[in-house]
């Protein structure tokens, strides 16, 4: 190859590129000599190692920034290197003059300074540089100029930056410009197809119909939530990211930032004119849904948006609240629709599920909910609204006693199954039968929503059969255990008999030997 070099030079081709030795350009090397107030070099060996790992063109790009003073010194470079960007992201960041200028602590005031540690530089929270470089927009190539305008390749700020947004004093007071601003891209299917074809583009139209949208856009109430309120500004992440403000587990807190703040929510009312409560978040956290989502980490459990919607957020109307529950609890809804209660609830304009189970504080339903006494759920409601309700109370009592019987039987069957398993018996069929019984119990409880003995018994019958089947299996296992025990006793009896015979024989042998010894002595 070396022999070919003169020939290549002769033909006008440049010398072949040499291997990248990771050497830093001189202007970069010079920054390593800069010292801080403590007299120690600002850039350390870890920074050098990071730079050496970057591709040659990126190192040259950074050196060019240093030569052009868009990187103002070692402190500035240190702040940028602390982001530990991938080589691709580093190439984007170091070629963007907006980022370079607004991260230079020497030239920017805190109000305009992006910093990896905003508290240390007294920058505003939304100027967190780490958040910015992990923003979903930045990661897809959309940087500052995408929203703010201007040209990142120019050394100076162009006038269009000031024109794109409302004036600073107005835009902070009236936030109604924000949905349209985000909608410029997010409501444009043709544009969004180029970035994320699967992302819906109906957020703006939904928002306009939402309670938040009506308040902001029609009533010019800038306290109402808009895009930024929920998604943030520079640290926007997709809903699947655990750090996202709209991750299912983060949603209750995101909504609660306004809705759990009595001061912020003062003055807002429900449809019937009552002050809007602010205890929803606290209640949700205590509810079966809240515990499943926030404590058990079950992302399938509903958060605020599951019932109220996302961009079209509205309090569900009486007529629709039960439909919201049905999205998950479909079977319960179907049984309810075919029950006597359906008409009664419609007559009273009661929300269906909520009437018995509550709203945000829904707790895990227990069989104790089915109570025909006047202080119980069924009894109290019936006494107040159904007058002569003897048959209904009988039905409630039947449900309750049937479930109690099934549960009591199940409670005795499981420990017995465990005892039999620990005794070495094959308890697998018993455990399988117990699982079937558990499933049948769930079905039976679901069928309570038929509010009809016949409907309930269709489930209870399967559960009762499950109990009988499990009892039969356990009885068979106990019989096997008795068989084993008896077999053991018979075997031990026979072996012990044999052992006694042998012991007698050994004793006889011993006597014979003693006799023989005496006989030898006397001879």
């Amino acid at each position: 190859m070396n022999a070919l070099v003169p020939l290549l030079l002769l033909l006008g081709a440049g010398p072949p590129p040499g291997p990248d030795d990771g050497k830093l350009p001189p202007s970069l090397e010079k920054l390593f000599e800069e010292k801080g107030k403590d007299g120690q070099p600002i850039l350390g060996e870890s920074d050098r190692a990071y730079l050496r790992k970057l591709p040659l063109h990126t190192r040259e790009l950074i050196a060019k920034d240093v030569d052009a003073v868009t990187i103002g010194g070692a402190r500035h470079l240190k702040a940028l290197l602390s982001l530990e960007l991938s080589s691709q992201a580093a190439a984007i960041a170091f070629s963007d003059n907006c980022i370079l200028c607004h991260t230079d602590p020497e030239s920017q005031k805190p109000i305009h300074l992006f910093s990896p540690d905003p508290k240390a530089t007294r920058s505003a929270d939304h100027l967190n540089l780490k958040d910015f470089v992990s923003d979903v927009h930045f990661r897809r190539g959309l940087s500052c100029s995408g929203c703010h305008g201007g040209s990142p390749d120019k050394d100076v700020m162009t006038p269009d930056i000031a024109e794109r947004w409302p004036k600073a004093d107005a835009r902070h007071v009236d936030r109604s410009w924000i949905p349209d601003f985000c909608g410029r891209c997010h409501a444009d299917p043709a544009f969004m197809r180029g970035f994320n074809p699967s992302l819906p583009t109906d957020q703006l139209s939904k928002y306009e119909e939402s309670r938040h949208g009506i308040l902001l856009l029609q009533q010019k109430d800038s306290k109402a939530a808009q895009c930024v309120s929920c998604h943030g500004v520079h640290g926007i992440r997709g809903p699947k990211s655990r750090q996202s403000k709209v991750h299912p587990q983060a949603i209750p807190e995101t909504c609660g930032r306004c809705h759990a703040d009595p001061k912020y929510m003062a003055g807002y009312q429900t449809d019937d004119g009552k002050p809007l409560p602010t205890n929803q978040l606290a209640e949700f956290k205590e509810s079966v849904h809240g515990k499943a989502l926030l404590e058990k980490g079950d992302l399938g459990a509903p958060a605020c948006n599951s019932c109220h919607g996302n961009h079209a957020a509205m309090p569900p109307a009486v007529s629709s609240v039960s439909q919201v529950c049905r999205t998950c609890h479909a079977q319960n809804g179907t049984f309810f629709d075919g029950s006597k209660h359906k008409q009664a609830f419609e007559k009273h304009r009661w929300p269906e599920c909520e009437k018995c189970h509550g709203k945000h504080q829904i707790s895990k339903p227990t069989d104790a909910l089915i109570s025909a006494t006047p202080d119980g759920l069924c009894g109290a409601c019936h006494e107040a609204n159904a007058g002569d309700n003897r048959e209904c109370n009988e039905t409630a009592r039947y449900f309750r006693s049937s479930l109690a019987d099934l549960v009591a039987q199940r409670e005795t069957l499981r420990p017995e199954a465990e005892r039999l398993a620990s005794s070495g018996l094959d308890a697998e069929p018993i455990f399988a039968s117990l699982e079937e019984l558990d499933e049948a119990l769930v079905q039976t409880r679901t069928r309570v929503h038929t509010f009809d003995r016949g409907g309930f018994d269709q489930g209870a019958k399967v559960a009762r059969e499950g109990v009988a089947k499990t009892e039969k299996l356990e009885e068979a296992a106990r019989a096997e255990q008795r068989y084993r025990r008896n077999g053991l006793l018979v075997s031990i009896g026979l072996m012990s008999f044999l052992a006694v015979v042998m012991a007698l024989k050994i004793r006889g042998l011993g006597r014979r030997r003693t006799h023989e010894a005496e006989h030898r002595r006397t001879r």
Binding site: S422, S423, G424, L425, D426, E428, R484, R485, L488, S491, I492, M495, S496, L498, A499, M502, A503, K505, I506, L509, G510, R513, A517
Partner: protein, 468 residues
Amino acid sequence: MIPAPHLEAPASTAQRVYRWLDARFGLGKVVEFARHKEVPLGGHSLVWYYLGGTTLFFLSVQLVSGVLLLMYYQPGEATSYESIRYITARVPFGWLVRSIHCWSAHLMILSLVLHMFSTMLLKAYRKPRELTWLTGFVLFAIALGFGFSGYLLPWNELSFFATAVGTDSVKSVPLIGQWLLEVMRGGPDVTINTLYRFFALHIVILPLVLLAVLSLHLLFIQLQGMAPAMAHQRPDRPGLRFFPDFLARDLLLWLVCLIFLSVLVYLLPYGPGIPGMEWELGKKANPLAPAYPGIKPEWYFLWVYQLLKEFPPHLLGMEGPQAALLVVTVLMAIWALVPWLDRRASRGQSSPEFTDLAIAAIIFMSYLTLKAWDIGGKGLPGKLPDPRSTSWVCAWIVLALSSAIAVLRILAYGQRWMFFSGAALLQVVLNGVFGLDYLISGAIALVLVVAGVVASRRAPALRPGVTR
């Protein structure tokens, strides 16, 4: 006078068969040998002579129950676990056979360990029985190999991860560690190939080697007879005839063992439930699942397992496990070579150092085993037991038992030479009671025992032979 006809009782069928065989194979010599075979009496209890026999009995149970299991067991990724489940759930008395196989395996090792320690304490290894001891030592190693290889065969979670941990320690062997690991596992990881290897080992290779070595062991015993008591403690008493007197006693004991085994199998079909002694099938092995928590080997490997844990990651330029395995190898080598090291016993003289060595070995292994069982170290639910409190409780248990043994040795046998056992106990106390590092405690004990032995050589009162 007419001579009376020669009256001779007609021979029975058994006699005729015997005569037929005797004419062809010379059975008379064997019968003559058996008639004169005796079990020596005097000096110590007859009970120690039974332990080899009980080991043999449990081995026979293993062979019979193993063959029965083999009729249904099918090695394979989709069949190993399933066939064991089928054996215990569907095969008539399958549960019984599996439980007997498992219980008997542990009882066989227990009997073997007792047999080995009794041989050590009674100096039965002394000249001319060195090779009987050595073959016995090899048989012990084979028995451990049976335990290790058989453990994986159910292919359940516990066996899978225990084998992964157990085979991993082979990596510490210098130079060939990785190669050896891959030979054992049939690849870099524990897979179904490992099971095939262990299966072949368990049912073909080890039984063949066992039969060969066991034959030698038994042949040596027949040729040399059972070891009599030491000359200095042996009163002149005639021996006990082996046939039928001792054999009848042996058979009676075997019967008692069988009754004991039957009761255990019925009451505790999955073992006593202590780590290293449980065989409930549980879940099928899943190589992709996270490691099974609290994996511990079978009880007879626990002292090695705990010793590995006591070593730091690096020691004297070696990897910690490497150093630990070196210690185990040296200790095992000393144990195997005891007949040649104990020269006084070979001359029929008392050798209290080796009696004490056996006691020291018991103390050393008991402490580590108790620690590995986390005795006294129960932590909060979901938390690991506290090692400090474990060491503390285990040390006091060992201290109490060792003191009782020491008092017994002094009062009943007049033994005074206790440097080795004293050193082993000192290590236990320094580590368990005073919280000193295990290895530092060991080093201190080692230095003191060397100093003690040197001093004893200078002080005639402590010299071996002066006192027993």
